[in-house]
Every structure is written in structure tokens, then in C-alpha cells.
């Protein structure tokens, strides 16, 4: 599995950096970095599957991550029974009618010969269908959103254990990827990029606007946890006694315990997915994917179904992003649609893949940890640096205040610089593909 001597050294370096954070700053910060690093590693494995294995240029990662987050809400939140009885059936009927309209349009397009009549029929079905859909759908939405708008105002979830949301998040993202892939995968690489970028924005617009589904910008908080709450641990005499034995106060001990618990859960998922991805990479399927990536025409001439394979790997990679998104929302305990930003959730993941080494799963994982560490730590480092630079300036000068305030934006600059430097001097990444 490991045939590059640099690999263990680089992983040891990242582990060392996180441990250093623990010793110098606090173990809480270190564990936070570790947890998000584990999640980032999964996202970057997903992008690596698409870009590194198959050469698909997907810059809609944010959308799939957000869908994973939605899954956490839909699976784990308790159902709002009142809202269901007020308009649940109506909304479902509306969605079904929308699907029926699209199916009908597709059937017309397939069955009728291309002609002016077909175009007219298509437009009539789509326009008429849109108004019919809105007529059925809108009253249901209003009824749902009127149910206790300050507290719920949405359908709620299924009230199932939140761990189930992880695979469901993957499935949701996979479903979306199937629809997108069916339409957009035939496009050239940079058209596909723009299309995915736009689709991610559309998914986010849906999350922000459809209050009946996920409360929109009113956010969903208090998503059930797979682990106990800190406050319960602190009230548990057995736990406090054990904490005292190690010499920790109950508050710190409970917070570390929970974070370690999450780290354990995430690590299990990461190892499992990494094992699967490695098996895939080294299987005949993986060799075929790389053959398609390197020369589509030749692979097609050998009888490989390029479009189908692209669709397959696009769905798999997106599913990984969805799983990671569900894990992240579980960790946060809340879904905040406005917090999804393309720079953070799409382009940063790309930096991880490129820096780590595209085409190599271990590289992607390493990139996930390393870039996440830098993303978190560049801010305090930048701040310290700015303090050093501005130290000789007079207190209260406008420039000094501006420079100190702006230190927070150093991280974007640094990420861009790292990406450009790696692309220039080590274009295959830190752990290159074999």
C-alpha cells in the first residue's frame, strides 16, 4: 500500500504538527483540527476519485457537502407531526406532480419526431406543468411554514439515529450527482466545471429558500448527537471521578472526551473508505479509469463505455463528499446554509487534492489534513506576524489598526500561494501517483 518512502514521513510531519498544536495552544484546538482534518480528508478523497482517477473537473463540491448536511437534518431531527398533517401530503403531491411534468416532457421529446409541433407541445407541457405544480405545491408550503414559524415551521426529519444520516447523505449526494451527470457529463472539461459550479449554487439556493424542508436561513440547530452531551458527562459522578484521577477538571475532560469520540468515529469511516478506494485504484476497474483518463479515444476504441464510467465515478466521488458533509453537520450539531461558501467548500478541497497529489488516495488524505491545518493556523500566525511588523508603528495609527484587522484575510492569500507553488514546482503533488 505504501511504496513511497516520503509517505510515512509526511504523515508523521502532519501528526507532529497537530501534536505541537496540542502542546503549544490547547488540546481542544488540536482535536478540532484533527476532526475537521478527518472530514476534509474524505472530501478530498471524493474529489481525487473524480479528478485524480478519471480527470473529471467538478467544482460543485460545496453543493454535495450541503446535501450531506441536509441529510443529517432529514434523518435525525424529530418529525413535526403538526406540519405533516397541515401540509405534508400537499407538498408531496406537489413534488410528485413536478416529477410527472418532467417525465411527461421527456416522454414527448423521445416519442414525437422532431418538429415544430413537438416544440410547441414541450413548451406547453412545461409551462402549464410549472403553474400546475406551483398551484398544488404553494398552499402546502404555506401551511407548513405557518406551524410555529419561530420554532419549527418545517417538516422535520425522521427522528432516526444520526449515524444513519452519513450513508443517507452519501445517497442523497449520489442521487443529485446522477441527475447532474446525466445532463452535464458529456460537456467539455471547463464547461463541466462551470456547470457544476452553478449547480452547487442552485443546491444552496434551494437550501436557503425552501423553509418547509430545512428552515432555510433560519437554520436548524440541536441536531441529535451520536455521543452524550458534555453537561451530562459533567453530572455523571463516575466520569468526574475518573477525570480527577488523570488530573483534569470535569469541563475540560468532558469536552476532550467528546472530541476524541468524534475523532474515533470519523477515523473508522476514513479508514474504511480509504481501504475501499485503494482496492478500487488497484483493481482492473481502477486501471480502466486511468486508461480512460489518459486517453479517452483509445479507451473507447478498446470497447470501454467512457460515458457510463464517467457517470459512475462522478456519482461515487460525489457520494464521498455527501458522507463528509453529513459528518460535518453532525459534528457541528446544526445546519447553517449561509455558512457554505465556495472558497471554503469547493476550492479549498481542490487545493487539498492538488497539494496532496492527485491520483493518489494517500496523497489526497495527506492534503486534507495538511491544508486544513494550515487553513486554521495561518490566521494566528498571520496575526502574530502582523503584530511583529506593526510593532514599531505608533499605537492608534490607522495603518496599524488596518493591518492588524486584515491579518484574517492572510489565509486566502496563503492558500493561493501554496497552490501556485505546488503547481509550478511539484505539479504532481507531495505524494505523486505511481
Amino acid at each position: 500500500m505504501i511504496d513511497n518512502p516520503r509517505t510515512p514521513a509526511l504523515f508523521a510531519l502532519v501528526a507532529g504538527l497537530i501534536l505541537l498544536t496540542g502542546f503549544v495552544q490547547s488540546w481542544n484546538t488540536a482535536l478540532l483540527i484533527l476532526n475537521m482534518g478527518l472530514i476534509s480528508a474524505i472530501m478530498s478523497m471524493g474529489v481525487n476519485l473524480q479528478w485524480g482517477f478519471a480527470g473529471l473537473f467538478n467544482v460543485g463540491v460545496m453543493g454535495f457537502v450541503a446535501l450531506g448536511g441536509l441529510a443529517a437534518v432529514l434523518v435525525a431531527m424529530p418529525p413535526t407531526t403538526e406540519a405533516w398533517s397541515a401540509g405534508g401530503a400537499q407538498v408531496l403531491a406537489g413534488l410528485l406532480s413536478g416529477a410527472a411534468v418532467i417525465t411527461l416532457a421527456a416522454v414527448i421529446r423521445k416519442r414525437m419526431a422532431p418538429s415544430r409541433r413537438r416544440a410547441v407541445a414541450l413548451v406547453a407541457v412545461l409551462v402549464g406543468g410549472f403553474f400546475a405544480y406551483r398551484a398544488i405545491f404553494d398552499p402546502g408550503v404555506e401551511a407548513i411554514e405557518a406551524v410555529n414559524p419561530a420554532g419549527t415551521g418545517y417538516l422535520g426529519g425522521l427522528g432516526l439515529p444520526v449515524l444513519l444520516a452519513w450513508p443517507v447523505g452519501g445517497l442523497l449526494a449520489a442521487g443529485a450527482a446522477w441527475i447532474i451527470g446525466k445532463t452535464a457529463l458529456g460537456l467539455r472539461s471547463d464547461y463541466l466545471a462551470i456547470a457544476t459550479l452553478g449547480i452547487a449554487e442552485i443546491i444552496l439556493a434551494v437550501l436557503k429558500n425552501e423553509d418547509w424542508l430545512s428552515r432555510g436561513v433560519k437554520n436548524v440547530s440541536g441536531i441529535p448527537r451520536p455521543l452524550p452531551y458534555e453537561i451530562d458527562l459533567q453530572n455523571d459522578p463516575g466520569f468526574t471521578a475518573r477525570a480527577a484521577e488523570i488530573g483534569l477538571d470535569p469541563v475540560t475532560a468532558s469536552s476532550l472526551y467528546i472530541k476524541l469520540g468524534y475523532a474515533g468515529l470519523f477515523a473508522v469511516v476514513l479508514v474504511l473508505l480509504l481501504w475501499l478506494a485503494q482496492r478500487a485504484l488497484n483493481s482492473p476497474w481502477g486501471r480502466m479509469m486511468r486508461a480512460i483518463r489518459d486517453n479517452e479515444t483509445a479507451a473507447e476504441a478498446m470497447g470501454k463505455d467512457v460515458t457510463a464510467r464517467h457517470l459512475q465515478v462522478f456519482i461515487l466521488g460525489s457520494a464521498l463528499c455527501g458522507i463528509a458533509g453529513a459528518m460535518m453537520t453532525t459534528l457541528d450539531g446544526q445546519l447553517i446554509p449561509t455558512s457554505y461558501q465556495p472558497l471554503r467548500f469547493t476550492f479549498l478541497i481542490w487545493v487539498m487534492v492538488i497539494v496532496g497529489g492527485s491520483g493518489n488516495n494517500l496523497g489526497a488524505v495527506l492534503g486534507g489534513f495538511l491544508i486544513w491545518f494550515l487553513w486554521v493556523q495561518v490566521e494566528p500566525i498571520g496575526h502574530a506576524l502582523m503584530q511583529l511588523v506593526t510593532a514599531p508603528m505608533a499605537d492608534g495609527s490607522a495603518l496599524k489598526a488596518h493591518l492588524l484587522d486584515s491579518a484574517a484575510h492572510m489565509r486566502l492569500l496563503t492558500m493561493g500561494l501554496i497552490l501556485l507553488l505546488v503547481l509550478r514546482f511539484s505539479p504532481r503533488g507531495l505524494i505523486p501517483e505511481k
Binding site: 462551470i194 456547470a195 452553478g198 449554487e201 472558497l343 493561493g416
Partner: protein, 336 residues
Amino acid sequence: MDLLNAFIALANFVLVPAIAYGSQLALGALGVTMIYGILRFSNFAHGDTMAFGTMVTILATWWLQGMGVSLGPLPTALLALPVGIAGCMALLLLTDRAVYRFYRAQRAKPVILVIVSMGVMFILNGLVRFIIGPGDQRFADGERFIVNAREFKAATGLEEGLAVKTTQGITLVTAIVVVAALFWFLGRTRTGKSMRAYSDNEDLALLSGINPERVVTITWLIVAALATIAGVLYGLDKSFKPFTYFQLLLPVFASAIVGGLGNPVGAIAGGFIIAFSEVTITYAWKKVLGHALPESLEPSGLVQLLSTDYKFAVSFVILLIVLLFRPTGLFRGKAV
């Protein structure tokens, strides 16, 4: 039923804003399409290039305002625009020298250049936020309206008012002047012709003695001017915020692709198509229909097809439809 009032309401809420927005998008899309035609990659940093040029212009505007200089009824930013363009030109030439030239020499694949432009995007984004901060900046001054809604109502005696902002007028005039100048340059001058030749067939252009580095440099200079003008016009019309400019990347790209990447006429048409569809689909038609239809048919709801937050969705649905049925865009673009 009152068709005149309906038309005024339509002009006020749909036509005027969409024409202004369409001009801004068209200028942005022209920049994207020029880079695609000559340098042959989709520049993800274009939104942030617009933000950078606008930022320099804003800083120069503040300086001019501090000196007490103003243009009377016109915004001071127009006076500062050349400074912004110069700043943006310097930046783009620098990034070309430091970043893109290396990959051009290697003849790297276009998709590699796209990833490289992602890195440039990060840097520019950080740079702009570092210098001017992530917040909202308003820098329009001078007269606010060319046609004021209240005065319009008083003058015509109509029920509906029509308001045309100064910035909307300036946008349209500037866009027409810039586009005319650009087409004159591309079609009539020797340098412009050499650029079109290079865009059509690189090898043949090289054989006929066209200096590729010169073509590339001039492209960056033109793109800097286009991006800055587009950004400043957008900022004057709405407001300047780095994140909004980053998001402008989406409709700008949609415009360029819908029109056909690499085709300047297409970029302009695409800009207006995207702008008009965004505005018409997210506009609440109640007022216009209320005037246009007989009273018995007057709509009770807002008659808004989609909420305004779905405007990105609109441009992308159009983009997808065009790509699926006419993969090279409405006007024939090029494919690399």
C-alpha cells in the same frame, strides 16, 4: 386595463435594470471570452480581477474626493477609472509574467491553466479583502437620478413612475462606447487583426510572423480595461463587496458560454439574455399584469415565477439548455 401604465411599470422594474445589468455582464463576459479566445482557458480569477480593478478605482475616488475634486452631477469614480484600469493592467501583466507564462511555454493543457487560475483567484480574493476589507463599499456620488419617479409622474400624469438612475445611464453609454471601440480595434487595426488571426489559428499566425507574446500582452491589457470598467459600473449601480464580485463569476461565465466562448458578439448577446431572464423570472408581475389585464382577470398573488434568490438558478438552467442543445453556444464559439 391600461397598457401605457403597464409599459411604464415594466420599463421601470424590468427593462431599465435589466439593460444596465446586461451591459455590465456583457463587458465582463467580453473579458472572459477574450482570454478564452487568445489564451485558451476559462479564467476563474475574472470576478476577482474585476474586484481588484474596482478596488483601485475606489481608492483613487476617495483620494480625489479628499482633494475636493468632483465631476458635478457625474460620479467622481469616472475620473478615477483610468487609475483603476492602469492598476489592473499592472496586476494582470504581473500575474502573466509570474504565473501564466511558464505554463504557456510548456503548452500545458487548458484544464491545468484553469486550476492555475484558481490559485490566482485565491490570491486576488485575499489581496482585495486585505487591502479594502470584506465589507460593503458605496462610492457613487453626484446626481442620483436622470429621471425621477415623482417628477415623471407629475410631468406625464401617469399612475406609474419611471426612475432611471444616473449610474444606469452611464452604464449603457459607457458600454456602447467601449464595445464600439473594441470592435473597431479588433476589426480595423493591424494589432486587432493579428489578435483575431492568432485566435483563429495559432500556428498559421506564428508562420505569418505575428509575435505571440505581444498578442498575449495586449489581450491582458484589454481584459484589464474591460474587467475594471465592468466592475466599476456594477459597483456604481449596486455596491462593491469582494464576495459579490467573486459570485459575479457565475453569470459572467454563463453569458460568455451562452453566446459562444471566444466570440465577442456572442458575449454581448449572452450578457443581455442572462440579465433579462434573471430579472423577468424573479420579478413579481402583479403590478404590470394588474394594469395590462381587465379587472376581472387581475391576479391575486405576486405572480413571481421564482424567488429572487434563485437568480443563479435561472442563468444556469439557460446555460445548461444551451450547452445541451447547442454545445458551442448560440453564436458559434470555439472549442479547445
